[in-house]
């Protein structure tokens, strides 16, 4: 039996992709930089690919996104990186160099692959999921768990702060968003 602190509140739980996309647009994001992630594939990436209001740049490897987002930020263009947590882990050196040491507003939305939504990520039986939040804490990167619709309200203020302070932010997607 797990300790109560490791298990998230249960009950009717839903996360709608349309609400997340609306929050992304409300945040002034113009560019989505992505390697496909199965957690966000149907609920976010597929509708974003059809959305004429967002420019989708498909990249070959996740760390490319860090450089592209940085270049765009010098043009006052906002970007959101949409990737899987495995790609986030693969990009740590780029995040270290660009987002932290050069203090760039790198905004990342990271799908937690094979995560059980009613378990806190730190308590996940999956090693790759369990280590994500501690790594973010060690790197001093602000992060927000987006698991239900009520969490979506965190997105716009966090992106606005990232650009205002020129610092990175990560949104961890804790369950597959429903397709619009």
């Amino acid at each position: 039996m797990e300790a109560p602190a490791t298990r998230l509140d249960t009950g009717p739980r839903e996360l709608n992709g349309s609400a997340i996309i609306a929050a992304i647009k409300a945040s002034g994001i113009e560019y989505i930089l992505s390697v496909p992630d199965i957690v966000t594939s149907a609920g976010l990436l597929a509708p974003i690919a059809r959305d004429k209001a967002l420019h989708l740049i498909r990249v070959c490897k996740e760390d490319e996104c860090i450089g592209i987002a940085s270049g765009l930020s010098y043009c006052d263009k906002r970007a959101l990186i949409l990737i899987q947590h495995t790609g986030f882990l693969d990009s740590l050196n780029a995040i270290r160099g660009v987002a932290i040491e050069y203090k760039q507003p790198i905004c990342m939305m990271v799908g937690l692959l094979q995560h059980e939504p009613n378990v806190a990520p730190r308590a996940s039986p999956r090693y790759g999921v369990r280590i994500v939040e501690p790594i973010l804490d060690d790197m001093g990167i602000a992060h927000h768990l987006i698991s239900v619709d009520a969490d979506v309200a965190q997105i716009k203020p966090a992106i606005d702060q990232a650009y205002a302070e020129s610092e990175p932010v990560v949104f961890l997607i804790g369950r597959s968003p429903n397709a619009p």
Binding site: I57, D63, S70, L72, C75, R96, V98
Partner: protein
């Protein structure tokens, strides 16, 4: 075989208001030849030069962006050739200085010294790809390369250079990043 600083000296005559993205040995040579506020040097992690250049080019389609990347750096981000080709920024010119070594890391050879970067760029979908190993030919054609509708790629076959002084605190000075941003955004 050419020398990088000689190539950059010729290139500098054609650079006006472009953003020039450079790192490591290319940045050292470029800054010595053409110190200017529109040099973008803070790449943050080896290999990302081409990706930073893509971001700048997408964000300012009205301005030209020139990337000066090393061969070892491009090998770390070879997929960026495919990403750039697909994004198809018309304003991006991408040079790779091919000296067949990781010059900034002790001069060790890259895994395959004879890799055909221009061929890979062409196959990835760049609008045009060139190769230069003769300085006079480069001098004659560099204006044409810069005027092409991008993304354009060019390999510069160069000799490994003399030992360089990598003054990273100066190259990556936060004040230079701030000045670059202000100047880049001031551009009409």
């Amino acid at each position: 075989m050419m020398k990088r600083d000689e190539c950059f000296g010729i290139l500098a005559r054609h650079i006006t208001d472009e953003a020039v993205v450079a790192t490591y040995s290319s940045a050292v040579d470029w800054v010595a030849i053409n110190p200017r506020v529109l040099n973008y040097l803070s790449i943050g992690a080896m290999g990302l030069d081409s990706s930073h250049g893509l971001g700048l080019a997408l964000g300012r389609p009205d301005k030209r962006v020139v990337v000066l990347q090393g061969d070892g750096s491009l090998l770390m981000n070879l997929g960026s050739l495919v990403t750039i080709a697909a994004a198809a920024p018309k304003n991006l010119v991408h040079f790779v200085a091919h000296n067949e070594t990781y010059e900034a890391n002790g001069g060790h050879p890259i895994p395959n010294e004879k890799v055909d970067f221009a061929g890979i760029a062409r196959a990835a979908g760049y609008a045009a790809a060139y190769e230069f190993s003769d300085l006079r030919m480069f001098e004659q054609q560099v204006a044409h390369v810069l005027e092409q509708q991008g993304p354009v790629f060019a390999t510069l076959h160069i000799e490994p250079s003399r030992p360089l002084n990598y003054d990273y605190p100066s190259l990556y000075d936060p004040a230079k990043r701030k000045a670059f941003k202000a100047a880049w955004q001031r551009q009409g």
